[in-house]
Symmetry: C2
Subunit: 249 residues, 2 copies
């Protein structure tokens, strides 16, 4: 299994994802929001690349069936029902709803990777579930850290390192891509104080300053929600095993 | 002094470099070739972003005064005088010449960063000289790793980590950018076996396979050429202290 890692997601090409299992990571907060919304009963999450796309999709849906969620500069977009805080996506709010999600880095990265053979969303919340899927799929895998405004984000890199550590069962192969090696090195450096390292990341500190500290703590919970957002026909749905149309490999 | 690091150079914007000291790192091999050419007596190196630009600049120069250098896919470009191997840039070849240099990642990154207040080129060969300049300039600094085809390159990241370690005299500040933290972590992880780690990088392995192993060994020599390529009026020249027009700060 060939493993590729991108430490920022903005310039992934179709060639980078074609025929592969692709894991998009945006720990703070799009991944965690998507995982939470689906775990809490949302019918689907439609990740979009920009405002225009969000508006067009909303226009074609019955207003009683969807919620618009997303952020710019970390805060809820004016006129949207929800921001990008996973804590807003409670069962009473999202059950049965389709969420149109519009975030600065995460949903744009998912959109860029939409032509993958399998496209899933990962974070600390569902790390083990992601590793299980990647193993069972058996395809080459590309882990894409969304990063932040074209820059590396420590939180995403640490999550990628954690996935690699588990995928490789602690034994780094002899030849890996430089980005994979760097993500794993960072994870091994911080694994004994992972939550502290994550709180210290640029994005976490920024969110904490903006009053979203509870979100940060929520997103750092390892394996708390063992569900898998899986992309199909322009939307993320809960992946369920043994459904023929969803079979892996 | 604010320190920013980019682990890939392809998407640096004018805003990222304006008013700052910018260090572009492309260890394998553009940085090392530029350092070597200037140390060996080349009059200047003109870094270009593509073939067109190289051709246009060459057309306006007296053919006896310049050499075209550069690579695609690691090898000398057809019709060029020189490739991108620093070992080709010997005194008898380059003395007094202007080199038009056209490489896949390095010279393009320099071109993207051309509006910096001070733009210098760094590698292992001149690491201490770079740190000395950055300190004396006293401005905020942006270290840009050229990387490789939009991807992180371990060799460049390790060189960035080394520069940070020396700049900070071994004490990482409390708040640094995630990319700086990651580069430093990787350097500290590998510092006791730096040459081996570098030989194991994706780019080094690729060059060794292509027969450029001697280049790799050459580029890894720490502080072997304490000279500073400095960008002025579209070209890199040797930085010389105490010349009023070149004064720092």
């Amino acid at each position: 299994m060939n493993v590729e890692v991108f430490l920022t997601g903005s310039h992934v090409t179709e060639e980078d994802v074609e025929g592969r299992t692709v894991v998009v990571i945006d720990v703070l907060r799009a991944s965690s929001t998507i995982i939470t919304a689906l775990a809490n009963g949302a019918r689907a999450v439609i990740p979009v690349a920009d405002m225009d796309q969000a508006g067009k999709i909303a226009m074609n849906l019955d207003p009683s069936t969807y919620l618009l969620g997303g952020e710019r500069d970390g805060d809820r977009i004016d006129g949207y029902h929800l921001g990008n805080s996973p804590l807003e996506y409670t069962p009473d709010v999202v059950e049965g709803k389709t969420i149109i999600l519009n975030t600065t880095n995460g949903t744009r990265t998912i959109w860029n990777a939409r032509n993958a053979e399998h496209l899933i969303v990962g974070g600390f919340l569902n790390a083990n579930r992601v590793v299980q899927f990647v193993r069972e799929a058996g395809l080459d895998v590309t882990i894409i850290c969304a990063g932040r405004n074209n820059r590396v984000a420590l939180d995403d890199a640490l999550c990628a390192g954690l996935l690699l550590h588990r995928l490789w069962e602690g034994r780094e192969p002899e030849y890996v891509s430089d980005a994979a090696h760097i993500a794993l090195t960072q994870y091994l450096h911080d694994r004994d104080r992972l939550a502290d390292a994550l709180r210290h990341s640029n994005h976490a500190r920024w969110l904490i300053e903006k009053g979203y500290g509870a979100d940060v703590e929520y997103c750092l919970q390892l394996d708390a929600l063992p569900v898998l957002p899986y992309y199909r026909e322009n939307r993320l749905v809960l992946y369920r095993e043994r459904q023929p149309s969803e079979s892996v490999g």
